[in-house]
Symmetry: C2
Subunit: 576 residues, 2 copies
Amino acid sequence: MSNKPYVDFEPKWVKTPAPANSYRSIFRWGDPDFVKYPKESLYKLMKERFVMTDEDFKNYTGSIGMEEVKLDMPSKLDQVHIDALKEIVGEDFITTEDYPRLAVAYGKTGYDALRLRAGQIDSLPDVVVYPDTSEQVEKIVEYSTLHNIPLYVYGGGSSVTRGVEPTKGGISLDMRKRFNKVISFNEIDQTITVQSGMSGPQLEEALNNAPANFGASRKYTCGHFPQSFEYSSVGGWVVTRGAGQNSTYYGCITDIVMGQKYATPIGVIKTSSYPREATGPNLNQIMMGGEGAFGVLTEVTLKVFRYMPENRKRFSYIFKDWETAQKAAREMMQCEAGFSSVFRLSDPEETNLMLRLYNVDETPLWKMLNSKGYKDMERCLFLGFTDGEKGFSNNVAKNIKRIAKQFGGMSLTSFVTKSWEKGRFNDPYLRDTLMDFGVTTDTLECTVNWSNMSQVHRDVREVCHALPNTIVTTHMSHCYPQGANLYFIFITKMDDAEEFRRYHATILDAIQKSGASMSHHHGIGKMFGPWLEGSLGKTEYGVFKALKDYFDKDYNMNPGGTLGLDTPEDEKRFLK
Amino acid sequence: MSNKPYVDFEPKWVKTPAPANSYRSIFRWGDPDFVKYPKESLYKLMKERFVMTDEDFKNYTGSIGMEEVKLDMPSKLDQVHIDALKEIVGEDFITTEDYPRLAVAYGKTGYDALRLRAGQIDSLPDVVVYPDTSEQVEKIVEYSTLHNIPLYVYGGGSSVTRGVEPTKGGISLDMRKRFNKVISFNEIDQTITVQSGMSGPQLEEALNNAPANFGASRKYTCGHFPQSFEYSSVGGWVVTRGAGQNSTYYGCITDIVMGQKYATPIGVIKTSSYPREATGPNLNQIMMGGEGAFGVLTEVTLKVFRYMPENRKRFSYIFKDWETAQKAAREMMQCEAGFSSVFRLSDPEETNLMLRLYNVDETPLWKMLNSKGYKDMERCLFLGFTDGEKGFSNNVAKNIKRIAKQFGGMSLTSFVTKSWEKGRFNDPYLRDTLMDFGVTTDTLECTVNWSNMSQVHRDVREVCHALPNTIVTTHMSHCYPQGANLYFIFITKMDDAEEFRRYHATILDAIQKSGASMSHHHGIGKMFGPWLEGSLGKTEYGVFKALKDYFDKDYNMNPGGTLGLDTPEDEKRFLK
């Protein structure tokens, strides 16, 4: 974030790469060589807020996971099954070794990181398989169904809901190695069909280079850029109903998907790929959100968009307070002038942090803000950029400017947005650095309608702040004419997995009680599963059970809590 | 269409209103006092194309249905059930009389009209009930489930798929009389919640007058204007997954719906009303398309849009041929400059008819087209208008102009579009007028991707034209970056219901074989039901059966062929 050396004390930030085959290489985010740590001013602010001292940053609070993974947990799967799987994928593409098994056992929620740091292995697949083709996946699903072997899928591994965790052991399909190919590209229809294990960067790279790759007449973009972009997979986006940071223009993944193919226990399911249909309930929308509980997603057909970064208009504004800023954002979303691509409004507490994170505190803007009456812990930062055809893009930016002014917003130029762009995919690295000193950060998000936004914001923050010395920042992103996603980030001194889990549950309770939806784009997984039936209603939730019974009556697909489908009744939470 | 008197022979067009309680008042479209008939030049063209003479237009080919409805088909429902229903809705809101029963027995496909003209009563409800509240509907569903009485719903009655037809008798709920109220309006969220029986004009009127009706700060529009607008209901739009003529900008109904409430045999289903969610399969999308087979839709929450007709830009262009026109349309949809509201491209045969229908043959344009090389039966008419904020609307129109020019399109000014607007909701009246003389017209529509559009167009037209002396016109509307809806209209000499049905089936076969989707926005109903399983695939279609078994295991909700759910196996058609 800033390359300036520390003047006073600098904590013992772990700057060395995570060793190969180490625990750290599993729980740490992404690139083993990349390190991110707070600059000095931010470090000082944090100490103050967490009531910590330099002393607390001299030693790590626990293991930092540099040791090699060695488990005393041999595979419990019969050799006959392993041989059968070898028959399907080839013997080089299956393993029962410790490291590759642990590498696909966890996702990236704080709960996962804390457990791994403590060496707490709650779940482990018996075998990891690396499929190459849809036919292989179909055979594996058939086999696991026939022999009642639990089957899990690991795409990019960035789940924050315990979505990939093989709580019942069995087989885990690691899609990263081979299940990541382009199947077809159609420039007339502007669509691409890929295997579900393809990563975000692989897809974007393929599309940006469409002329060379497919003989296309122009470059394209996938339009889907979640914060986890670099370490997430197309399949993960789809089965969890994800959303990218540019979704306000490009749509969420549910808007981008044209068609899907699944290997399910009752056979292959292939949806249609028409832009719209009136042929009964929408099968694409039934399958998206299944989170692997109905079968394994093998192929996805996606819309693609023209790659026109030259038309992009960056903007950022500061508003005097959260209520006014919300009104401005709502007017921007409802005025029918087109939507900007990134559209992000931070609440006062997040603004306080972000202006430092984006180095605004090192510019003349900082003083000007105070002198113009945009007060710290009241002011709200709004930033984003537009996409699309030039005239469209200009018109969106022009209207945002008009409305920002109307609501007393002051332009901060494109500087802040550019800073945000630099860090947009690497904030998760910061978490690992802080966690070494017992400071945990994680996120929860939810959907709200405009009329309920202030209440949800207030209620959830109140619960988060009940834990002393906690920073809780909130932003609105993924906006719509009828509402928006509220994204809560909490940072607090905490190094115990169970404590994390209790805290997380308390916030989830608060989100639901406040009238917000449980998830806008992270999905449900096994972590949020106990709440789902209570959140949707018993009769409504019964639809999911009916679908599960149709596709996978023996519960072999991602079993052990996914969508709460096989959560024991006494573990379910009913708040309504 | 033209008020000029005929110079030569004028057919005996039926210009008198359909008498109250007559068959004609049921099978005729809409307003009993409104009459539409072709102008003389079009009449002459039609005679030529159908190989008919003035003699054929001197006498009606059959009954024109002026007689009063009198049936010898008494209600078969036990008095105890009728008394129980009276208990629920009050005794003034239930009837077993002939006329109101027949009035809800049919929709508006040509098959319905031909049957009614021939006095062929295949279906009739035993009793018609007029509910007032959702609670009443819930009690009726509960009662009909308990006693295994078939339950049907009649909204606007404009179904062209036999969607409303009570093929098993029982109860029909006529929603028009009382189930048409606004439940709530939320200006902050820009949403309205209404009872499902509300008609298009009732909804639009409520929104256009939002300041007076709800104390709102501005006027709104529903954005959903199917050709059937005046005689269709919100509930019908939703359960069939309809689309309005302005859907390219406002979206189809599946984009506009925020939330739904149903009375089902297993209880009330209430979906959430958030703009987006990642909480498993999307319940809103599961319920939309149910066509009454899962339960009765009682309440709908819809997005509303700002009413800004002052920003509308009308345009029309003529292209030299269908292939070039398609390419231009595709570029307009893919260039990311925003979408126009109405976006309609006619093929050469439709253009031939439309230029007359819109009176272009009476203007100097007519000659100019020929002299500029836009040849009859090759040229294609493209028209539409934009909506939205002024800058947005202007930018869309500007890009359409730019692209039209690029593909050799010539502007026809806004004149043609205005003519189209005048007739946009009343073309169905023309059908009734022609049918009196044994000329039948009807429509089929389907979704195609751009890369398959030419083939579908060619294949389906070929089959339609296999019947001699048939006019088949096609237009593309409801467009998307990935494809469009193709809308086929056939006009032919035909006055037998069974002949119609066979012809209709042949075209539907052709649509499916050509690779198009069975329906873009008309739905499936009982008429298209036999094709659905073959179209979607057995395993895929099984999802619908699983949902049906969950909601209505005894098949009392809209039974007798809806979505093919209880279609006998030997009546199903598998083409793939």
